[in-house]
């Protein structure tokens, strides 16, 4: 009885809460979750914070210093432990298509291309930036296209292949997509599915406007890339 009371002493609960937050941050970095949540430039901050929290937990475990100042300490620790355990146990599995549907698609700033890659080496984002800088479809007709992205359903037309661009974290992600002419006789791809496409760029008329469309010849399902967010 006395032992269990000591195991749940405020100091130990606090040490456990600090350690769990530290582990949650480090585990996010080690397991690759951060690649899904945050731009790489911020990852060192998360690493550093995880290590610092483990050090604070170690100070607490040494048990020589008690901060008995806060009456709510035990509840704070218990709730913190619960929240940290939830973060540890439930990995983020966002639906990119669902997220993109809630964001305006044309929020990309004016592009600043420093050079243009050969067509077959351009990523989906490179293509979108190039088409915004110089939208004339005749310039790209017949160019080979090799891109990957997730399937983004579009109201009133066939699904696009898209990527999410982030400045900081998933919260500010905005979608960029390319219209695709999917191969005939094949089932429509499902939303959020990651695909690799090979094909050529063609021109098509929508209303009174000409636009570039990827004429897909090869469609291959792929797993979600390790770093699905692009800067």
């Amino acid at each position: 009885m006395g032992q269990s009371a000591s195991a749940l002493s405020p100091g130990r609960l606090k040490a456990l809460a600090l350690a769990l937050w530290g582990v949650a941050l480090l585990q996010s970095a080690l397991s690759g979750r951060l690649d899904l949540l945050l731009r790489a430039v911020f990852h060192p901050l998360v690493w550093g914070s995880g290590i610092l929290l483990l050090l604070l937990a170690a100070v607490e475990i040494s048990g020589r210093w008690s901060d008995g100042s806060r009456a709510s300490g035990r509840w704070t620790s218990l709730l913190s432990i619960g929240a940290a355990l939830a973060v540890l146990a439930l990995p983020p599995r966002p639906s990119f298509a669902d997220l993109a549907a809630n964001r305006q698609a044309n929020l990309l700033e004016e592009p600043g291309l420093s050079f243009v890659l050969p067509p077959a080496q351009r990523s989906l984002t490179d293509w979108v930036r190039l088409l915004r800088a110089e939208p004339d479809p005749r310039l790209y007709a017949g160019d080979p296209v090799r891109i990957s992205g997730f399937v983004l359903p579009m109201p009133g037309e066939e699904p696009h292949l898209a990527r999410l661009l982030v400045r900081c974290c998933l919260v500010d992600a905005v979608p960029v997509g390319l219209p695709v002419r999917w191969p005939a006789g094949q089932p429509q791809p499902r939303a959020d599915q990651w695909l690799r496409l090979e094909g050529v760029m063609v021109s098509e008329t929508v209303g009174e406007r000409q636009r570039s469309v990827v004429d897909a010849r090869l469609v291959e399902p792929i797993p979600r890339p390790r770093q699905p967010l692009e800067p």
């Binding site: 945050l38 604070l56 008995g68 913190s80 983020p92 639906s95 809630n102 974290c169």
Partner: protein
Amino acid sequence: MIAVERLATTWALFQALLVEAMPFLLIGVALSTLARWISPGGKWVRDLPAHPLLGPLSGAALGFALPACECGNVPMARHLLVKGAPIATALGFLFAAPVLNPIVLASTWAAFPDQPWLLAARPLGALLIAVCLATLLRLLPERELLQPALLEERRLSQPLGEVTLLERRSGLIGVPAGAAVPALGGSSRRPPLGQVLSHGGSEFLELALLLVMGCAIAALVQTVVPRQWLIAVGGTPTLSILSLMLLSLVVSVCSSVDAFLALGFAAQVTPGAVLAFLLLGPVMDLKLVGLFGILLRPRAILLTAGAASLVVLLIGQWVNLLLL
């Protein structure tokens, strides 16, 4: 099926906000812990100017010495208040320092290098908001402004000429000092490093819990309210300001990166709206509401939100009048 996907996306947004903000919160706690260790009595804090104008300005200037975004700012502002800093100075720091620090100014410049007016207007606007809010909030008596626990700690650092023993409620009369306030209290002797770190750990856990709450609310609102609604009225001067103010409240991104987010829609909205987005977010957003709860009473938080929104709206309108 859609509901499950929506829930999964909300959870991911929550985690993204949390792992982005938590390191900045920890930096703020580390700074206040360091300050507590280096200057345990915090006498210099009480010597800061209490003048209605000089107070907020000197508090804002502290942002250059203690760079942190709005999350990291809360523990530092709490430290200032506990150590007996004049209210106007501490509030000036709380509201202006998230913008007036080198990191945020550099990121604003990086995002808008061709908009010199914005580089000047953002810090000036932040100063104006801080002065207005500090002037307004210091009209409230301290017991109606500050959280009781914070007020109790603050009383111990204030000279007896300003606070009576009864108001202190601890020490010679009232509850025993150790039970109501931290052992670190108002002593000017440097405490052992381990003790200061332990106090920092407690402070972090308390604030982290409030941050979790704020991130959960922000993630939920972001998933439920389509962002298109918030910026659909970009072209109209007043509505565009109001909609971007609402967006800054909801999105809750850190002030060190919000300029990059604003860059994304700068072309679709009025200049006053972009400035309003960059000014309001660092002072008030959904993620901050919980954290402010450790400093201010609910009425003071409501007053802050209302007054900050009004000042930002007026600044945005004025900029639109000048530039459109």
